[in-house]
Amino acid sequence: MTRRSDIDIHLVALLSAVALFLSSIEYMIPKPIPFMRLGIANLPLILALGMLTWREYFLLALLKIVGQGIITGSLFSYIILFSSVGTIMSAVAMLATYIMLKNRVSRIGISVMGGLFSSLGQLLISRLLFFREATYVIAPLFLFSALISSVILGIFSELFIKRSAWYASHGENRL
């Protein structure tokens, strides 16, 4: 059992605030297809690996989903199904990759893994519930854009971790 005091509430709050802020930036950027995302709101989830315990990590993922739902106004629509499944699948994939590979993988690999599973999750929902066969038409576009944006996000995360004094003081390994 985890007591409430075991959760670093300040760090989770700070990171989810960053996710909320990045969600609003993401929302401002024009996109050719409504469901397409750059995924910049996932940056806190990439950086949080190693800073948070897995409980805190999933709490952050949950807060990101709710925050993103509020920003985009999709909290009570079917779109939330896409973003929550995408976020949860990518969070699980990134955490698993981090735990299994630790120092043998950089944030670039972790980010690409997250992007891949996020789009696979969303395509799965799309296949099962909404677009059925037509999912195969949008799949390549979805996967390629996720790959490109996640590589860029991963490079940014690596540079951030390298340079940030804040990260150096908080980035203790708690996992």
């Binding site: 590979l101 992007g115 891949l116 195969y136 390298k162």
Partner: protein, 137 residues
Amino acid sequence: MTRHDEPANNEKMFHFRITDVGIILLSLAISVASLFLFQSLDGADEVHVTTDQGQWVYDLSVDTMVDFTGPVGTTTMAIEDGKVHVHKSDCRNQLCVLAGEIEHGGEWVACLPNNVFIVIKGSPEVAGEGEVDDTSF
């Protein structure tokens, strides 16, 4: 993998590991594979129809008119001059009829209330220079 386990050194911008390359290649492979998932049929365009009763395949170049039955009634699909449209449907909102004609691989039209899904499988539209998308009038 031991040669990658050197201590962190600050001169490098970031540590790009062999595993990263592997993950990126995996992701790339899945992306490329998804391209072929849909375009396996080349040349002759086929019209695939999925309904509650099963799946049918029609030749896009042969004019025909077919009725499909679903939960709300009958949906009539017409193939004419290499184009497909829903001619008539017993659904309430008539979106499938309003959707108009489809003619290229990858295009689809569906009557969701009646569970009829029509998709053309075959060579996708190659957008020519300056070609105007006729659905975005």
